[in-house]
């Protein structure tokens, strides 16, 4: 596909036409939540947020796998990172995420832990090959987009006979978390923008319940300003029409059906399990654990790591921000006790967290 074609999805002129049409379409407040952190950042970084009509209320959901990685899971990473003979390989995203005692991988590294930032899971495999005397443990975080890449790497490791490659897996699944958000009647969310790249793997069918059971509209959409505005226009239109619909507006990347090969790889290596989400708590069947065939790769089992639920952080309103009940700047800790330098809750932790985005981009 020509780059010029893709560039048109950023065309300022088209965006302004869509903004005009959006304003005409609105007949009241439209409260929308984007589930995906990449959308959060795109909305702020492009400056789109400052151009949205005032009736459009933008709420940011739990859509960043780093944000929702539970304190207790981070504690397990940190526990592991200090062990002799272990090299922890991780996406850069996780380096500054604090555990329940405020420590993070950066501080673990300063204390002597061997931590390698990699761009992709196969880079961790290369690390295992280069360090045969050590065990390389990859920290598996991410949603349905990333879980198949980790699963694929586990298959590669087996094929190459690399037994010193392990994975500490804390993957999360999006649809079960959406159910939790939708069941919250207090938030008053009218519509959702669904994660585009998760959908590239699972397709759009798993989202049907948003309209059929909860009577809300939702779109699967891309990350350019034109994509986001098209979605808002659609959602406003459906609201005015009194219709709830789930719609794929990212057809250049996503089809309604899943990517069967990616799911097959993911389901061979992992099976669903209950998982802890930072700010949301335990959600049934919203995580992934190793299937019996691959239990030898499971770092949790290999190192006897236990995941203990810990009490929510005092004063932190992330749970309410993630559910759309509260805007980041309405939290009493925002910019005071809670900053990107010293994040209290998950929404400030990652670059894609909604509080971090407010902090970074919002012109007062």
């Amino acid at each position: 596909m020509h780059q010029t074609l893709l560039r048109q999805f950023r065309d300022p002129e088209l965006c302004h036409t869509l903004l005009t049409r959006l304003r005409a379409e609105l007949d009241g407040e439209l409260r929308f939540m984007e589930v995906c952190g990449t959308h959060t950042v795109a909305i702020f970084q492009s400056g789109l947020r400052s151009l949205l009509p005032p009736q459009v209320v933008h709420l940011s959901g739990p859509g960043c796998p780093v944000c929702v990685t539970h304190e207790s899971e981070v504690n397990a990473f940190l526990d592991l990172a200090g062990r002799p003979g272990v090299i922890v390989a991780t996406f850069g995203d996780l380096m500054r995420v604090p555990g329940s005692r405020g420590r993070n991988l950066k501080s673990a590294q300063a204390e002597g832990a061997r931590v390698a930032v990699v761009y992709s899971p196969p880079d961790a495999l290369a690390l295992a090959r280069d360090n045969p005397g050590d065990t390389v443990v990859f920290l598996g975080v991410g949603f349905e987009t990333t879980a198949p890449t980790v699963a694929g790497t586990v298959l590669m490791a087996r094929e190459q006979g690399l037994s010193n490659f392990k994975v500490l897996a804390f993957h999360k699944l999006v649809p079960p978390a959406l159910e939790v958000l939708l069941s919250d009647t207090e938030a008053g969310i009218d519509a959702f923008i669904l994660p585009g790249h998760v959908s590239a793997v699972i397709g759009t069918e798993p989202y049907g319940f948003i309209a059929s059971r909860f009577g809300k509209s939702a779109t699967v959409t891309g990350f350019e300003p034109v994509d986001i505005l098209e979605s808002l226009l659609f959602l406003a239109q459906r609201r005015r029409q009194g219709r709830a619909e789930v719609k794929n507006l990212y057809r250049r990347v996503v089809s309604d059906t899943s990517n069967p090969r990616a799911l097959e790889v993911m389901n061979r290596v992992f099976r669903p399990c209950d998982a802890l989400w930072r700010g949301l708590g335990r959600i049934p069947d919203s995580g992934l654990e190793f299937t019996d065939e691959f239990e030898d790769v499971d770092a949790k089992r290999r190192y006897g790591l236990s995941i203990e639920e810990c009490p929510p952080l005092p004063g932190c309103k992330c749970g309410e921000v993630l559910r759309g009940r509260l805007r980041p700047d309405q939290c009493p800790l925002f910019k005071k006790a809670c900053t990107p330098a010293k994040p209290v809750g998950p929404c400030m932790v990652s670059t894609e967290g909604s509080c971090a985005a407010y902090y970074k981009y919002q012109v007062e």
Binding site: R10, L51, D93, Y119, P122, Q362, V363
Partner: protein, 334 residues
């Protein structure tokens, strides 16, 4: 000389002397350094600008440069930013035992070339060799002094509302070039570091337009961090226009792939110039006459709208903050 640097080479004994004579004097020698006295005797007129910087870069040879030339460019540029002509450098090496002598020779030769091009003399030096693993190959400290030739000197707290903000070329080249060579990254790019000494360009600019308020080189932390420092110390708002900021397509694409922002990537051969708005065109004319600053453009204006903040107008015409980064940027997937 042995083909690897041994602990003996930093002992002060014969091995040290051989290293100095065969390697350092060969590439960096000049009448003052050659005297090998305990200190250098400098002939300078006050007031003086002085700066020091320590260089650690991985890998030590990267597309467009190496740690040796970088150690010269970096300090030459820092001294120049105060409106000074850099004259003398000192350099201190900390070398890891076992480093190939050839590698050290290439680094020192590259320093020599960079110093000659910049017109500065290395007048004092020191080398320590430490056991394997105590440093990563080689660290270099350089300290530079230069003669200030403008009054008042450009300074980070002198930006005033109405000033124009200029940059001398594309942002992020050095940062991306270095990142792309990190081991294991499945990413090849033709982008090379922009590392260069800017002293000649700055001297020409300040002679033509001495009223410059601020000169800064946006090294680590990039344009975003440097503008924030200026906004804070001057108590003003830097308003910049995204579309006006030069970024190579390869740098932009590389950043989208690695999840980075080019405005926070390091530059080693560009500078930022803030001066009264009515002088912007004259300054741009002078700058564009220098090949290192051929891409000079105005990227924004200093205002009093949001004191201490940097506000970016996006391509869509929206506004957002450009804040100071918390720490180094790391490749990310989400």
């Amino acid at each position: 000389m042995s083909d690897r640097i041994l602990l003996d080479c930093g002992s002060g004994g014969r091995a040290s002397h051989r290293l100095v004579a065969d390697l350092f004097l060969k590439h960096l020698g000049n009448p003052e350094l050659n005297r090998l006295n305990d200190a250098a005797c400098l002939n300078l007129k006050s007031p003086l600008a002085m700066s020091t910087d320590t260089f650690t870069v991985d890998p030590i040879f990267f597309p467009g440069g190496d740690i040796g030339s970088l150690a010269v460019h970096g300090t030459v540029n820092d001294v120049s930013m105060l409106g000074a002509i850099p004259r003398y450098l000192t350099c201190g090496f900390i070398v890891e035992e076992g480093l190939e002598t050839d590698v050290l020779a290439r680094v020192v030769a590259s320093m020599g070339t960079a110093a000659r091009e910049a017109g500065v003399l290395v007048v004092a030096g020191d080398t320590k060799v430490v056991p394997r693993g105590m440093v990563d190959k080689i660290f270099i400290n350089t300290t530079g002094v230069g003669e200030i030739f403008v009054d008042p000197t450009p300074s980070g707290d002198r930006a005033r509302p109405g000033d124009a903000i200029l940059v001398t070329g594309s942002m992020g080249d050095h940062g991306l070039a270095v990142l792309s060579t990190r081991q294991g990254l499945a990413f090849d790019t033709p982008v090379v570091s922009d590392a260069a000494s800017l002293n000649h360009a700055i001297a020409r600019l300040l002679r033509a337009v001495p009223e410059v308020h601020v000169l800064r080189d946006p090294t680590r932390g990039g344009l975003g961090t440097t503008l924030n420092e200026i906004a804070e110390s001057s108590g003003v708002c830097c308003e910049i226009v995204d579309e006006a900021i030069p970024v190579r397509p390869e740098v932009r694409d590389g950043c989208s792939f690695l999840g980075l922002d080019p405005l926070y990537l390091a530059n080693e051969g560009k500078f930022l110039c803030i001066l009264p708005g009515e002088l912007a065109d004259a300054a741009l004319d002078v700058l564009r006459g220098d090949p290192l600053c051929a891409g000079a453009v105005r990227i924004g204006t200093v205002t009093d709208a949001h004191p201490g903040k940097v506000v970016l107008t996006t391509r869509l015409g929206g506004a957002r903050l450009l804040t100071m980064l918390e720490g180094e940027q790391l490749p990310r997937i989400c």
